[in-house]
Amino acid sequence: MTDNRITKHPILTPNTEATVNFKFNGKSYKARPGEPVSSAMMAYGIIVFNTHHKDGAPQGIFCANGQCAQCLVLVNGRPKKACITPVEEGMDVRSLEGLPELPADDELPEMKEAPVTKTDVLIVGAGPAGMAAATELAVAGLSIIIADDKQELGGKLGLQTHNFFGSVRDCNAGMRGMDIGTLMAQELEELENVSVWLGSPVVGVFVDGMVGVLKGDKYVLVKPKHLLITAGAREKTLAFPGCDLPGVYGGGAFQTLVNRDMVKASNRLFIVGGGNVGLIAAYHAMQAGIEVLGLVEALPKCGGYKVHLDKIKRLGIPVWTSHTALKAEGNGKLEKVTIAQIDNTFTPIPGTERTFDVDTLLVAVGLAPVNELLLKAREFGMSVYAAGDADVIAEASAAIFSGHITGRKMLREFGHEVEIPQEWYDILDMLRAKPGPTHELEIKNPRKSNVYPVIRCTQEIPCNPCTAVCPRDSIRTNNGKMTGIPQLWSDCIGCTRCVAICPGLAITLVDRSYDPTGKKALVTLPWELPVGIIKPSQSVRTVGFEGEAIGDGKVIAIRSSGWQNRRQLLLVEVPAEQAEKVAGIGLFPLKEPAHGKPATQEDDDNTIVCRCERVTKGDIIRYIKEHDCTDFNALKAGLRVGMGPCGGKTCTELVMRIFRQVKGKDAKVEAHVERPFTQEVPLSAFLDGGEE
């Protein structure tokens, strides 16, 4: 039996053995304890989870975040989202073919009214912002409930295997996101007045000030004095022909599968979107031993940090800017993707199509705040706050910071005179800012040391771990700010700490004392790919910071130590004159992709926009035109767009884009009316409110 679990990883420690027995369509498999059904299935290469009741279309994982319902399976006869249902011993999982049957279980269950849970603060989402806010609030002896739909604390921090950007002092920059998550979770669990509700999605707020929480299998009403929404973000998506095929899913979903669940979900991957999520996903894929065939970005430049971009370029991943994914194709699942260059109106240029054989296509085109509860609570006049991505989309370091600030703001509501330093707001602004301009690389070695770092961090981004770890305080930013360009200002003792901590892998160390003849130099490179790819004394091709070929080198040693935080250091011998240029080693030769065919009008018309109700782009355009429609709600009535289990979370923005395309960008379009619940809730959850 194929087992696609990741057993070797440069950063992550493999999870426990698969020991939990379950069946899928009658066949026996084993899952890791606590693993979601979806990941257990994908570990065995099962990627089609159900067929849609309208047209029999195969569906599989899409958001891996409990937000959509593409991953529905029958679990012990009941439809469940595979991505948020943990496997249990003896579970009978079946693919859902069409509509489920209502089980003829005629036993009258026990029913009693649910007591209302009162609390000072209800925090929705236990990610970086929620946890940070909880630690601020808890100290004052208030009653706090922090609820999260996942089975573990930490939110998306757990997926972030890379070292964090930001400031060392304020948000543990330089540590890996997942380790920060663990640290924050430990701190939170020690707080006595914080009740942690895991596996508990918050599904609705009501005009009477109540909040509905699906606490495990029970629906509980909570009446908070103040509500804090730290529900994070969900991934935006794109509609293109074949976007609904199993194998096309979000970049964040991919990180969940690979980094949280350690399932090698793909063998051959392509990525749409050059923001940080897409760039990091490419890197994480390489770390998991997945071949990445390329990445497209619609804009002329990638929007993510330059250091993330360069990191994947050095690994030989082709990055196609001003390109888009034209179509995905496959028989029942993704088999190939065609990309094309686009002009400045984002129109594909005929003749530029290229086709890649892939099994997975990641769509990483940005994030949108999960803020529907926030908006409803505001509409209902509740005392509600928001922090993190639910408030403003930014890096997790910013989420931590905004959590702390918001926590303190809320403390003031309870009459606690806490200080919120102005500096905190300044740092938050800095952390939330888009990357600034990129400058020319300037290598400084003021003391003419034989050993010195080459700091290729030339873009203004909020990050300063290198300045904090230098034992001689020799690295400082050019303007003293976190977003400044770090440079060597004094002597270097060659400790390599800056090489080991730089989140962007942008620092190398040149040692010219290595060869007394002066012909060769030793370069220390940061290295986070699987152990075993490179061996000591191996001859290698060297590449520059952006992946350009430099020359030849030889690996002298691979070094690791505790403080390097699972990062390896490669010591590579190179010709002395190339020492400052070498920033990596070329591992994978570029392959020229095959030419592809353009997408036809028919392909475009048949693009699925509303996945839940299988509504095509052609249907929507025709409807808007024929009915002169400017009301999303009419579209719902006419075509059932947005009426499915995800409640329009996936397609609303896509549909609004089509409205603008057809009616003009300034057309007034009535927004679609949001109603509870934000996620579907089993009816049985309402019957017995349980203990109090």
Binding site: P100, F206, D208, K636, L683
Partner: protein, 388 residues
């Protein structure tokens, strides 16, 4: 000066759109005005879509017979699927008093030719699989009633009305009526003024305000009901089910639910104390209460999954009977208002008869029965309908 239109219909909802459709079918030039951005955005989309002729009031029986005829043949006649699902209404009965109530209505229902009978518990259990048999005395089943999708029906009526030349003006709230003696001269909206020979008030929950603009008062007082829908399952429940008992929780009167043609279960209850007003924001109270009522009646419903909740308004008249016909004291205004929560099922029947009244001077239904709905009746005589 010539009028802009033959008829202006105020309100593009359950009553207004079918009325406009039938008026245009009779060859009139019709304008339909609504403050919302498209048709059916008031209470229409909040309806659960049950359509029955098996009422106890002769006028409602007659009107709904017409609606049923139109809905059930719509696909063959017009070609559009509106989610029509035959299967009838089933009232399972658990108490002696309720049994008497239901049986007492049968003679009048049969007199109007309705297909409805009292059946035993076993037959009820056949119609409603998994129903709680403890204390079940039997009940009524009326197989010719059914369910329709309010969204799809409104959509189709609107398109067909458009094809017949009805002009729709959306996002225009009626701000006033310009009177000329005893007649409405023109309708003023937030965007303009339009004149017509005749005006129809089909303004649903806003009906009283429109009446007042013409100088008379008909009390249509909205109260609100919450409803919800599940995700779809395979077809298992043919009839729409009404449980007329009061709830053990002391908050509810009857509740009702049915499986729509596309597989979802749609449900609603009547609050014991009416919740007056136009607030349509969701409360936390509804779902736990209706869940226990649903599962108490059919335990296997516990396997369903709830998708969405909403709230809609019942524009109530004092006697629980709609107000249809010529407006009192105004020469050229007609009313199709006060549907008391049954606007969707009555809409086509009301529109059909109102259009005939306007174009031919009299409704197609029996004039004597039509009179029961007259705006001129004594509206203060209390609740007449036993099963509103």
């Amino acid at each position: 000066m010539a009028n802009d239109y033959d008829v202006i219909v105020i309100g593009a909802g359950s009553v207004g759109v079918p009325t406009a459709y039938f008026l245009a079918k009779d060859g009139l030039k019709v304008l339909c005005i609504d403050g919302n951005a498209s048709s059916g955005q008031g209470q229409n989309k909040a309806a659960i879509g049950g359509v029955r002729a098996t009422h106890s009031d002769p006028a409602k029986i007659t009107i709904c017979k017409k609606s049923l005829e139109l809905f059930s043949t719509w696909k063959e006649n017009v070609g559009t699927d509106i989610g029509w699902k035959p299967g009838g209404y089933c009232f399972p009965i658990y108490t002696e008093g309720d049994e008497k109530t239901m049986k007492d209505m049968l003679p009048i229902q049969k007199r109007f030719g309705l297909n409805i009978d009292w059946i035993g518990p076993k037959e009820i259990a056949q119609a409603v699989p998994g129903i709680n048999m403890a204390g079940l005395r039997g009940g009524t089943l009326s197989p010719e009633d059914g369910q329709v999708s309010p969204l799809m029906a409104m959509e189709s009526f609107t398109q067909e009305a458009r094809k017949l030349g009805v002009e729709f003006r959306f996002r225009e709230k009626v701000t006033g009526l310009k009177m000329d003696g005893n007649a409405v001269k023109s309708v003023q909206t937030s965007a303009g003024a339009y004149s017509a020979a005749k005006i129809v008030n089909a303004a649903g929950a806003d009906a009283t305000a429109i009446c007042e603009m013409a100088g008379f008062n008909i009390p249509v007082i909205p109260d609100s009901h919450e409803a919800g829908i599940t995700s779809p399952v395979r077809a298992f429940l043919p009839p729409l089910v009404v449980d007329i008992r009061k709830g053990p929780e002391g908050m509810t009167k009857n509740f009702y639910f049915g499986q729509v043609e596309s597989g979802q279960i749609i449900f609603c209850y009547t609050p014991l104390a009416p919740i007056l007003g136009t607030d349509r924001r969701e409360t936390s109270e509804f779902m736990p209460i209706i869940a226990r009522r649903l599962v108490g009646l059919i335990p296997r419903l516990k396997g369903l999954t709830i998708r969405r909740l909403w709230r809609g308004l019942y524009p109530m008249t004092p006697d629980g009977v709609p107000v249809i016909g010529k407006a009192p004291g105004v020469d050229n205004m007609y009313l199709g208002i006060g549907m008391c929560g049954q606007g969707f099922m009555m809409g086509p029947g009301v529109g059909y008869n109102l259009a005939a009244h306007i174009t031919k001077g009299k409704p197609t239904m029996d004039a004597e029965i039509y009179e029961l709905l007259s705006p001129k009746r004594n509206l203060g005589r209390g609740k007449a309908e036993r099963l509103a």
